[in-house]
């Protein structure tokens, strides 16, 4: 593939990079044409009609030419209209994130980039992504404004402190690409560099597994569970202090008696907790709606163990 | 090349680079109108900020707005409108060569301006007392919602800048008052007073926008 880039543009490594380059080169050649036209005409006139001798002469009265004037108003207008539409369409493609994209949370902070994966993995300045899969970036800043810029992917988006911004890309080839901060952010602005490491799907899964593994390795199950309670957003529905939110509180849950919507009862034990995490709709506690999603594919075996251990530890 | 000489009648108020008093007056008036345009744009930035923050959090503005005293705001509105009337009367009098009456009206305008500032002083000191100050100095706790200090940032910025314009206007009125007493302004030449009048009406107009936006819209 075109890994060398062209004289003007860096290698085109995302699915949309070629579209951006096509417009770039369209404008480039149109500009070149008009530039050569202007310079050639000017040069020709200047040389052809240069003043000879000291004698002062009258020059012809050429004050306007309706045809020419309409021509050089309409032609640029039409060309610019084409470029506008083309540019806007490309912009929509660059900014509208595909639905099936892999979500990565990007956080800019003086002077490094932090990436959070849905699996709970965090990585600094090193974004590992699978090749051939759209990657959606949800971005915000911890301090001043930064800008996420990957030249090879032709994407750039400011990263703001008070709201989220979004960008996306789909890498075409395995490789390592520069990530730069493009909005001035202080002393180390030019060192706020990262890498986007595009790897094969297998390598990506392996990397993720290792990262997830190392995430909880050596950590007591209870502590890992506590960490997951936050990182998996359990807290949005289950409190630790007995407060009723969308779901029952975890406080003193273990060992208590649960009453379900169908009227049946059961003591809360390890197997019930496990079932409720992996298949929440099987038994719904009376007084609550069946709104919890399944965590079947989102949690590893050890993580389920950890959450169960954590809930067990929360005595009444 | 023809020569046009207009040096025959050259009154002392006519500056040398103008050919006649009419040209001078037109130039001064046009200049004043352009200056007023810049003033409108200066406040325009703040009005934009008001609109943007209001649209972000309308409830906050509704809650915070209750803290302002409508009677005091209304009193100030009446005071300023009256001062615009006395200003207009002062110009009318100087056009009719009634210098003394003109001066009296100017003094009345000054007095109204002072009343405005005194009322403003009481409003401000009450707010300072309650801790309803902009930004980091905000300590009041009686308003619901996030960041109520934003409302007071906008309030103090807008009324503060307006207050500065009232002060500046008083200076300008004082200046034309002095010129009137010195009999430098008369039916032939009253451009400075006319321009100060235009400026004063603008200050009045801006308040007429500020009053409903800050005090009334709930």
């Amino acid at each position: 593939m075109n890994n060398q880039g062209t004289f003007m543009m860096p290698p085109a490594e995302s699915t949309l990079a070629h579209e951006v380059d096509a417009l770039y080169y369209f404008i480039y050649y149109v500009s070149l044409f008009f530039f050569v036209l202007i310079v050639a005409c000017s040069l020709y006139f200047v040389l052809r009609f240069r003043r000879k001798g000291k004698q002062v002469e009258r020059t012809p009265d050429i004050s306007h030419n309706t045809f020419l004037e309409i021509l050089w108003t309409v032609v640029p207008t039409v060309i610019l209209a084409i470029i506008f539409v083309w540019g806007f369409r490309g912009y929509l493609k660059l900014t509208i994130v595909p639905k099936d994209a892999l979500q990565i949370k990007v956080t800019g902070q003086r002077w490094f980039w932090s990436f959070d994966y849905p699996e709970g993995v965090n990585s600094l300045n090193d974004m590992v992504v699978p090749v051939g899969k759209p990657i959606a970036l949800l971005m915000s800043s911890q301090d001043v404004i930064h800008s996420f810029f990957v030249p090879a992917f032709r994407i750039k988006q400011d990263v703001l402190p008070n709201r989220y911004t979004q960008a996306w890309f789909e890498a075409k080839n395995v490789g390592e690409y520069d990530l730069l901060c493009a909005e001035f952010c202080g002393t180390q602005h030019s060192s706020m560099l990262g890498k986007v490491r595009v790897v094969s799907t297998q390598d990506y899964n392996r990397w993720l597994e290792e990262a997830v593994g190392s995430l909880g390795a050596g950590m007591p199950l209870k502590d890992l569970g506590e960490k997951l309670y936050t990182s998996k957003q359990c807290f949005t529905c289950h409190s630790l202090d007995g407060t009723k939110i969308q779901g029952p509180s975890f406080k003193g849950r273990f060992g208590s008696e649960a009453v379900f919507t169908d009227g049946s009862k059961r003591t809360v034990d390890e197997n019930y907790l496990r079932e409720s995490i992996l298949n929440p709709q099987a038994k719904v506690v009376a007084g609550y709606l069946p709104v919890m999603p399944t965590y079947q594919s989102l949690l590893k075996e050890r993580e389920v163990d950890a959450l169960v251990e954590f809930i067990k530890s929360l005595k009444p | 090349m023809a020569t046009t000489s207009t040096h025959s009648a050259h009154p002392d108020y006519l500056q040398h680079h103008f050919s006649d008093p009419q040209q001078q007056q037109e130039a001064a008036k046009l200049g004043m109108w352009i200056f007023l345009l810049t003033e409108v744009l200066l406040f325009g930035g703040l009005f934009c900020a008001y609109v943007i923050y209001r649209s972000w959090d309308p409830q906050l503005f509704i809650n915070a707005n209750k803290e302002l005293s409508v009677p005091l705001g209304a009193l100030n509105t009446i005071v300023l409108i009256t001062s615009s009337v006395t200003m207009a009367l002062a110009i009318r009098c100087v056009q009719l060569n009634k210098s003394k009456q003109s001066a009296a009206y100017l003094i009345a305008t000054l007095a109204f301006a002072a009343v405005f500032l005194v009322v403003k002083y009481f409003e401000y000191s009450h707010k300072i007392h309650l801790g309803q100050l902009p930004g980091q100095f905000y300590t009041y706790t009686g308003i619901e919602g996030n960041n109520p200090h934003i409302f007071f940032s906008v309030y103090f910025m807008m009324t503060g800048l307006h207050g500065l314009h009232v002060l500046g206007g008083m200076g300008a009125i004082g200046w034309v008052l002095w010129k009137t007493v010195k009999r430098q302004l008369h039916s032939e030449y009253y451009t400075p007073m006319e321009n100060v009048g235009l400026y004063w009406h603008l200050v009045d107009m801006i308040w007429i926008f500020l009053f409903p936006l800050l005090y009334l819209i709930g």
């Binding site: 770039y24 310079v39 660059l94 909005e183 060192s191 | 090349m1 130039a27 972000w56």
Partner: protein
């Protein structure tokens, strides 16, 4: 055919004494004082530019640390924009020439004019203070929240911008009124030189845009002093609102910079081709069109700032719309050359340089207006190169052309034509060597405001730095021969170029009151088809 001595009395010699200069209300003296002040600012900004280029000769540290570098590029930008280029053509050449072109004795408000110069100096002192007191390091754009947090002297620079704004407003106001009310008898709107139209359009921009930057800077200062939180995300404020405010001024400001330059080019091309301007009304009205549309395109600086797609679309569309009047002007100038009687005097060399450089500057703007391409090019060296082609290749080159054109009128003496041509060539070559490589490295992804950079860009940075030295040499020689000519230059007559606008009908240098008698205008500014004037 020339006199042996300068005509007396002239505005330079009478009245005498320092006080007579400091308290003058003569537009020509105020223009000269402005000229001296902005040239001081240009030298200062130029020194900072050279320091930037030297530091960037290698990817790692050359002579200063990262913080010093950030301060240097900020000062370069802030000084060049606010102290040099915005007042340059209107306040210096406009003051010197505009009333002469109108056949007026002075501007409408001479005391306000002097006042604006003192305000400029006062504002400049704040900027200089900021230079020495832990210089500001935010970039000339002062983006929040960085500018509300950084420990450097942002307040004094923001106040400088606020104060300088008044100077700019007063100049614009003065010129608008002067053009409306003080034209010589017979000088109808369509007989005005195009420089006057350009200054008129610029005046509208100065008057309408500058108050907004004023209030923005006040808010920024209050943000730092009192923590009002309008732009502070931690307090519920919005940092992007600052960008909207800032560009609402700073985009029209770009046209405050370029429109007067375009005006000069219309004068130079006609005078040195001895040819009626092609499409007078098209050029005049395109200046006004540019002025009005320029208020509606500020969002094109913010395509990746997180504004809505709809806003981006509108701003992109209007941006292309503003490109059309500029294109029309270029074609008109080109057509004016046709069947002219073209001389290659120094000012004309600058005018031709302008056509070349402004064409590049304008065409590269089309890349940046196209949304999809701008996402890649935004905040890279491509943008840096683009605005230098417009601001320096356009405005500064036009200013140099204007200086060389009106120099004999202002001082009554001529500079060395040979050195003039040599320097015009040096500036042209040096400029292109400096900034052409920046288009390439910007496209390749080199972000702006980078103290260190990936090694693949070094070759182009090296080119760029060498170009800056050529430019430096050019400006150095220019300073020498121009200063020399003030004292030793050949004395010229009223009209050394044989041009037809009014300023050439009075003596060089003009008398304190400009004209012996108020001139009456009977012909258009470019009636070279009817009138032949021998150069004197």
């Amino acid at each position: 055919m020339y006199d042996k001595a300068l005509p007396q009395p002239n505005y330079l010699s009478e009245p005498k004494g320092l006080k007579s200069w400091l308290l003058t209300t003569d537009h020509k003296r105020i223009g000269l004082m402005y000229f001296a002040a902005i040239m001081g600012a240009f030298i200062l900004g130029g020194i900072f530019a050279m320091l930037i280029r030297i530091e960037l000769i290698s990817p790692s540290k050359v002579m200063m640390g990262a913080d010093a570098y950030n301060q240097v590029f900020t000062l370069h930008g802030a000084i060049m924009i606010f102290l040099f280029i915005i007042p340059s053509i209107p306040a210096a050449l406009g003051n010197l020439i505009l009333p002469l072109m109108l056949g007026a004795k002075d501007v409408a408000f001479p005391r306000l004019n002097l006042c604006s110069w003192y305000i400029y100096v006062f504002g400049a002192l704040f900027a200089v203070y900021s230079m020495f007191a832990n210089a500001v390091d935010t970039g000339w754009t002062f983006y929040t929240p960085y500018s509300s947090e950084t420990g450097t002297a942002v307040i004094s620079m923001a106040l400088a911008v606020f104060i300088l704004g008044f100077s700019s407003i007063f100049t614009g106001l003065n010129f608008i009124v002067t053009i409306h009310k003080l034209r010589a008898p017979g000088l109808t709107w369509y007989k005005l030189p195009l420089f006057v139209w350009a200054i008129y359009a610029t005046g509208i921009l100065q008057v309408m845009a500058t108050p907004v930057i004023g209030i923005t800077m006040v808010l920024l200062v209050l943000e730092r002093v009192a923590g009002i939180g309008i732009f502070d995300p931690a307090m519920g404020g919005d940092p992007v609102l600052f960008q909207h405010f800032f560009w609402f001024y700073s985009h029209p400001a770009v046209y405050i910079m370029i429109l007067p330059g375009m005006g000069i080019i219309s004068e130079l091309i006609t005078a040195f081709s001895r040819k009626k301007i092609f499409g007078y009304k098209a050029i005049a009205y395109s200046s006004l069109a540019i002025a009005f549309i320029s208020f509606l395109v500020w969002g094109h600086h913010m395509f990746v700032s997180g504004q809505s797609r709809f806003a981006a679309m509108i701003f992109s569309f209007l941006t292309f719309f503003v490109a059309v009047p500029s294109a029309i002007k270029v074609f008109n100038w080109m057509a004016t050359l046709y069947k002219g009687s073209i001389s290659f005097a120094t000012p004309m060399l600058y005018a031709l340089s302008f056509l070349f450089l402004f064409a590049i500057g304008g065409l590269t703007g089309v890349f940046l207006g196209a949304l999809a391409v701008d996402v890649h090019l935004h905040d890279t060296y491509f943008v840096v190169a683009h605005f230098h082609y417009v601001m320096m290749g356009g405005t500064v080159v036009a200013l140099l052309g204007g200086i060389h054109y009106w120099w004999p009128k202002v001082f009554g003496r001529m500079y060395s034509e040979v050195w003039g041509k040599v320097c015009a060539a040096l500036v042209f070559i040096g400029f292109n060597v400096t900034f052409l490589p920046q288009f390439v490295m910007g496209s390749q992804g080199m972000p702006r405001r980078y103290y260190t950079y990936p090694e693949q860009y070094q070759a182009m940075h090296l080119f760029s730095t060498i170009g800056s030295w050529i430019l430096g040499v050019g400006f150095l020689i220019m300073t020498i021969y121009l200063l020399h000519s003030v004292f030793k230059g050949r004395i010229v007559g009223k009209n050394p170029w044989g041009a037809l606008t009014l300023e050439w009908e009075t003596t060089s240098p003009p008398s304190p009151h400009n004209f012996e008698a108020t001139p009456e205008v009977t012909h258009g500014p470019y009636d070279y088809d009817k009138i032949v004037v021998e150069p004197t």
